[in-house]
């Protein structure tokens, strides 16, 4: 196995940075990562960030309270645009979550060792993004306290959910995804929780981490089954993550609205999800490694690889936009053609062209080496993609709905203040959970990092 592959370019100018900086051993890796959690003093910056995100969470709670008391009429969606911010934000968040599963599962199966330093963090991102996503369809039901009607349970009404509907598929897909992501994340945490239990100085810490570690003691017999489980979960999660965004795209593709009814949707949505997710990974990881001094573990190599994944998936997404346009023309269908013309030159044309700038034009800068090597440039491009992927869902959902078949039933859509408080509220909620995670759980998988240090190489592996 290659641990430090500086060998791919012996000219010595453009060497690839290592996955883990030299000079680390089992002990230093353990101490460095666990000290973020176990240190007594919480950094001031953490409190500032936590407070801001907590206030935004409060704003979200206030919006939800008002919504539950009043009804979803407080949002801007109404006929003919029945789906707007709620579904845009749902798809946006779910998409962001997908990069976490991609990193933890698919890259594990592909033996991409660089994933090790960011997988824990990315899995947490998945969980919190799915938690934020789930709120939107839940509240959009209008009576969230009856949301359990979506699950098949024997009831006095003698009725059952309609399993032929993509919306029911979505219920099963998203709830399965949330469950499996949580299991995967917790399974990965068990050995690290044992490390924290053994290293915590306070009695309270030892007890709490001890309970969460379930009595893990690092037995070789346990590790054997643990590795099997981890690999199987990765194998199971890989088709799962592809199925989830496929099913999300079915919510649209199974409908007959021009702009929704397209066979390209599943792959195009999956690529878009990974694109958005890697942009969010970069958005979060670049400040994180700086503030917590984790440059040794989350190296330039990780940022560059993430940039390359973004470039590749961004091109797939651009191909999707192109094919949507081509299909509309090639179909010779008036409504499809009109849908594209309406996107290009209609009342919301500004958003369509902004989407192309954010998602197609700006990321092309990633072809240039020094852009990929500049942390600041990567952060800025990632922000463009975050915005662009939100705009993409805006273009697909309200712009397709506001003018479909009959001009007499056309209308305009504009969000209300509560659409925005809800959206920014969930961003706050996401960061609120993220800050708690940073403070109380190891942000990098410690036991997997131990396998990466030179000490872990066994004598026979060192032989050529």
């Amino acid at each position: 196995m290659q641990r430090v592959d500086n060998l791919d370019d012996d000219r010595g100018i453009h060497t690839t940075p290592a996955v883990i900086e030299p000079g680390h051993d089992f002990g230093t890796v353990t101490d460095k990562i666990s000290s973020i959690v176990l240190r007594k003093r919480t950094p001031l910056g953490w409190f500032v960030g936590f407070l801001i995100s907590f206030m935004l969470t409060g704003m979200m709670m206030g919006t939800i309270l008002y919504l539950v008391m009043t009804g979803i009429g407080i949002w801007g969606n109404n006929q003919p645009v029945g789906w707007a911010f709620d579904i845009i934000n749902f798809v946006w968040w779910i998409g962001i979550g997908h990069a976490g599963t991609l990193i933890s599962a698919i890259l594990l199966l592909l033996r991409q060792e660089w994933r090790t330093s960011i997988n824990r963090f990315a899995e947490a991102m998945t969980l919190f993004a799915v938690a934020s996503a789930g709120l939107f369809p839940l509240l959009h039901t209008g009576r969230p306290w009856l949301a359990y009607w979506l699950f098949p349970y024997p009831n006095t009404m003698g009725m059952w959910p309609q399993f032929r509907s993509p919306l029911m598929w979505d219920v099963f897909a998203v709830s399965t995804y949330a469950t499996v992501s949580a299991l995967f994340w917790y399974t990965g945490l068990i050995p690290d929780l044992a490390t924290l239990r053994d290293r915590a100085r306070s009695k309270f810490g030892r007890v709490v981490y001890g309970m969460m570690a379930l009595g893990w003691r690092g037995s070789a017999r346990h590790w054997h089954r643990y590795e099997i489980t981890y690999l199987l979960l990765a194998g199971i999660s890989t088709p799962l993550v592809l199925s989830v965004h496929t099913i999300v795209s079915f919510d649209f593709a199974v409908g007959i609205i021009p702009g929704w009814h397209a066979t390209i949707f599943p792959p195009y949505f999956v690529a878009g999800a990974i694109y958005a997710g890697f942009a969010m990974v970069l958005t979060l990881v670049i400040p994180l490694r700086k503030f917590y001094g984790l440059e040794d573990f989350i190296t330039e190599r990780h940022l560059r690889n993430a940039a390359k994944v973004m470039l590749a998936t961004g091109l797939i997404v651009a191909y999707g936009y192109m094919m949507e346009t081509f299909t509309a023309w090639y179909s010779a269908n008036t409504y499809e053609e009109f849908m594209i013309r309406n996107r290009f030159f209609g009342p919301y044309a500004f958003y369509y062209w902004s989407l192309l700038v954010c998602n197609v034009v700006v990321p092309q800068l990633l072809w240039i080496r020094f852009v990929r090597h500049s942390t600041v440039a990567l952060f800025v491009i990632a922000m463009f993609v975050n915005v662009g992927m939100w705009l993409e869902r805006f273009v697909i959902i309200p712009i397709s709905l506001h003018r479909d078949f009959l001009p007499s039933s056309w209308g305009m859509y504009s969000p209300t203040i509560f659409d925005f408080t809800m959206f920014f509220g969930t961003i706050g909620f996401f960061f609120f959970l993220m800050f708690l995670f940073l403070r109380f759980l190891p942000v990098i998988s410690i036991f997997e990092m131990r396998t990466m240090v030179p000490e872990a190489q066994l004598p026979e592996e060192k032989l050529p």
């Binding site: 399965t176 490390t195 379930l214 690092g218 070789a220 099997i228 199925s243 066994l458």
Partner: protein, 181 residues
């Protein structure tokens, strides 16, 4: 041979500093015929579990069965509810419109397999287990940092306190100690 119903200690534990040493020691212990043996390491080492004779696991088969049960349950639930119990004409489609049952069947299969994998692993490992004698070994807290341990249980038929301790010491550990209950 032994008068006590329970041996006085849980076993003997040897502490090592590098993965290479503990693997070599584990291989020797296995060759010597000890079978009630366990090794402890801060990260998974395939060679170590193989050295103490762990090769196969029932887990993959269990996960397969869990996935099949989940998938079958998902499909049969839809079949029973939409064909037998509550048939509803939707857009003129047949009641048994199986292609539309595929997504939920798949999700249920994944859920069944994932739940079996995690809870099966925990069950086979006997976790959660809040107390275990091995935690009494000195320095054992370092097993989750940078130390490696090799344990021979006193219930092993070949276990003889003095002789086994001498044998373990010959394998070049930092220390060999008794593990109290």
């Amino acid at each position: 041979m032994r008068k006590q119903t329970r041996p006085p200690t849980y076993g003997l534990i040897a502490e090592f500093e590098s993965p290479g040493d503990v693997i070599a020691a584990a291989e020797r212990v296995h060759e010597e015929g000890y079978r009630r043996v366990d090794a402890y390491s801060p990260y998974p080492i395939e060679a170590l579990s193989e050295a103490i004779g762990v090769h196969h696991s029932r887990l993959p088969l269990m996960v397969l069965i869990g996935g099949i049960i989940g998938g079958l349950a998902g499909y049969l639930m839809q079949y029973y509810l939409l064909v037998i119990n509550y048939p509803l004409n939707v857009g003129g489609k047949p009641f048994h419109s199986w292609p539309q049952f595929v997504p939920i069947t798949f999700e249920c299969a994944v859920l069944g397999a994932a739940l079996t994998a995690v809870f099966g692993m925990l069950a086979l490992n006997g976790l959660p287990e809040p107390y275990h004698p091995v935690f009494n070994a000195p320095n054992f807290a370092l097993a989750s940092r940078d130390r490696f341990f090799l344990l021979i249980m006193s219930t092993d038929p070949k276990f003889e306190r003095e002789q086994t301790a001498g044998f373990l010491k010959s394998l070049g550990p930092r220390e060999v100690t008794d593990v109290e209950y």
